[in-house]
Symmetry: C2
């Protein structure tokens, strides 16, 4: 096994689950599996990080899968699965409620542990699955057989990634899943090997542990699933998160420090500081606050992304130059934050018409603006590169006017976002964008810095600052 640095050993001491936690988790897990097996209709299986001993101290979420025979119907699976899951949870004195991903499952709280009890099909190989969850037992079997010697490496990697915000395959994070961490550790034979390799990664890199890739993947990072040649385990990893990890690996390799695993929490600046930051930037900031659509994150987050993109395109079509934009989702409220180079545009706006050689359209266009009546024509129509242009009065002279207009709901925003915004939304400008609840997000938006540089700046501040 790899020789660890003193720092890594120190980190491991803090993140390895304690004996009591292990004992509790194992005992509950085994009892749940025993209950499932005792039902006679399904086999119980511990999956996830608990199955591999790769959970970080305190992150002891328990995943119990119930494998049903593949010859029962989907309806029967859901019905029997939920019924058995409830019975199993109750037999251990757990409270529980139904949740829904690709199909329904039970979430229970048992002896202080959060437990998901999930029905799935017991299929013969991972490429003949009927639902995404059917693949999970194959992942568990694959890593469980191999990860033993690398348990500490996985713990280090997970802590390293969590600390800098690149851990998690959810829509909000677009980062690295636990299974992906385990595969990377296996492939590079440890944390040190992975760090060494990732320094020189570039988008398009392809890791195929089983050497059985069956198609071309287009994502920035490709790690072919060793149990399914047609699946990219790292499909969730965005280009930015990949690059952030590359940068962190370089930084850690060059100068390993405790802050790569444990970054002291940043101070969140208050309203006064926000106002002074904004003044010094000199940009025009807009905030759109609205109710978070009442759907699961996997549905809402892509819609937030799409909607923000549509609003930025709307601004661009009206010639307001967007410098940056971001979104933040809280449980009840969400926020689009948009920074513009300019807030106010001139009265006159160039309006593009048809090409001159499009006879019919060209004639109509010319007649419309020749007998313009109520329309104020500043100049034109004139011809530029063969296209008619006429200069008209601009409808929205400020970005605020546009964002408060009906154009916003008429543009390509996501369905559930439109539903809540159609009810109400507020548009704030400048200092009024500030909201106590979102101050952390707003501050990190204005002071946006990559994870590695956040670490480095914090280290500089600690060693050289007045409180250092």
């Amino acid at each position: 096994m790899a020789i660890r640095s003193a720092l890594e050993e120190e980190v491991l001491m803090e993140i390895r689950p304690g004996a009591g936690e292990r004992e509790l988790v194992r005992r509950v897990a085994e009892r749940l599996v025993g209950q499932v097996n005792g039902s006679g209709i399904a086999n119980g299986m511990i999956v996830g990080s608990v199955a591999r001993d790769t959970w970080i101290r305190g992150d002891r979420d328990l995943d119990i899968f119930m494998l049903f025979p593949p010859d029962i119907s989907r309806e029967a699976l859901e019905e029997q699965g939920l019924e058995l899951a409830r019975k199993v949870a109750e037999s251990l004195g757990g409270t529980h409620y139904e949740k829904y991903a690709e199909h329904p499952y039970i979430h229970a709280t048992i002896e202080g542990l959060e437990v998901d009890i999930v029905p799935c099909y017991r299929v013969n190989d991972a490429s003949s699955i009927r639902s995404a969850v059917d693949r999970t037992p194959f992942h568990t079997r694959f890593t469980k057989e191999r990860i033993g010697p690398f348990t500490d490496d996985v713990l280090l990697l997970k802590q390293f990634m969590k600390n800098s915000g690149v851990y998690g395959s959810d829509q909000m994070t677009e980062g690295f899943s636990g299974y992906l961490c385990e595969l990377l550790i296996l492939h590079y034979r440890g944390f040190t090997g992975l760090i060494e390799a990732a320094k020189s990664w570039h988008p398009g890199i392809c890791i195929d542990i089983a050497g059985h890739r069956s198609k071309d993947f287009t994502e920035p990072l490709v790690v072919v699933d060793p149990v399914d040649p047609g699946r990219n385990v790292s499909a969730s990893v965005s280009l930015s998160k990949l690059c952030e990890f590359i940068e962190l690996a370089r930084g850690y390799h060059e100068d390993p420090a405790r802050e790569f695993f444990f970054l002291p929490p940043g101070r969140i600046p208050g309203r006064d500081e926000f106002e002074s930051d904004l003044r010094s930037r000199g940009t025009s900031l807009y905030a759109i606050y609205f109710a978070t659509p009442p759907y699961i994150e996997e549905i809402v987050v892509p819609q937030l992304r799409k909607s923000l993109g549509a609003i930025c395109s709307l601004l661009a079509r009206h010639e307001f130059v967007v410098s940056r934009a971001g979104y933040e989702m809280h449980e009840n409220r969400s926020l689009f934050l948009i920074e513009l180079l300019t807030d106010t545009l001139p009265s006159v706006k160039r309006h593009y018409g048809p090409p001159v050689w499009a006879f019919q359209n060209a004639n109509q266009f010319v007649q419309k603006y020749l007998d313009s009546g109520d329309i104020r024509v500043f100049s034109g129509p004139y011809i530029e590169n063969g296209i008619y242009i006429v200069e008209l009065e601009r409808t929205y002279r400020t970005a605020g006017d546009l964002l408060r207009s009906t154009e916003v709901l008429a543009t390509g925003i996501g369905r559930h976002v439109r539903e809540v915004m159609a009810e109400t939304y507020t548009v704030s400008a400048g200092a009024d964008c500030y909201d106590e609840d979102f101050s952390g997000f707003i501050s990190s938006f204005l002071h946006r810095t990559s994870p590695f540089l956040t670490i480095q700046k914090k280290r500089k501040a600690i060693t050289s600052g007045p409180n250092g």
Copy 2:
């Protein structure tokens, strides 16, 4: 021959050269040709519109070519050509001076006529010419044999085109040459036929009278030279001028009016009106005034165009959005006029770095802004789509600061323009852009309208206006 409308007959009465003018022009031309022939070393030839009787009353510029045998050297041609031209001009009592196009020639004033006396080679066919002027005699022979029945049509077309600014193959106009007018009239068998056809022209149209095109041309309008299969006679015609002519043809066909031939001169608004126009547009206007480079128009105009393009690109690189730009050249002074959507930008500017996977560059970039010292870093470096971005202080917060900086001379402006601007140039903003000498250009810039719509607006004003 075509039956002319009363309007066209009326126009012809005004533009056909009078008997006195014809007699004077012919007499001078024939005496000049006689003198050349009498020299025994070259043959004299009347070329241009005088040779074909296609000149507009008053536009009686005379072109006399002296055809030398092709076996003399270029130096001998120039030397003997200039000597003979001077002798010929003096023999008719003319004052004269040397001019220079592809090679030198003599410009003389004889009995009030402006005369060019140009030496060229007498070659066997137009495709074996040694200099562009050698082609001219072939053009003259080709049209002289055919244009007779269409003389009036050519006169109408030239007047129609001159009136709306699309006549002239010079760099400033980028329009239709006299020879091109004659070929179009021949091809469509008269003015009416051309108007009828041009209504439906589109870019890419190709007219090949002799049916002998020997290459693919890429210009918007192609008229293959009947004396040279590898030459496009309309290479000078820009897409905009082509479209303006298409539009005029449609307008005239629909509703022929005297204003298509004689547009009453527009009133040029004064400074007060300019200021109020500018206020209502709400844009930021900049004027750069500088000495006109002391070279011929064919050299200076392309440089003005290139320089203005370079300055607009410079503005765009610094995120100032150019709405429109134009140039005007007077004998002593020239002007770049640039209209911007915004004059002032925020302090903060996004500065793009290398991609994260470019190891060396990425490291240098990160180090530079981590230990930024004197550089003010607003935020970052952070990663967007795999690229490093850092937000720095903007160097030029107003377009005026940028235009008055050394960046202007360091950008890709034309050589002779740089020479004069390196001496001095002035940058004016807003109302100060106004200059009495350039008021016509400035007004037509702000009120830019295609030639056809200018005619239509004038007609509406005449019929409905208070003085109508």
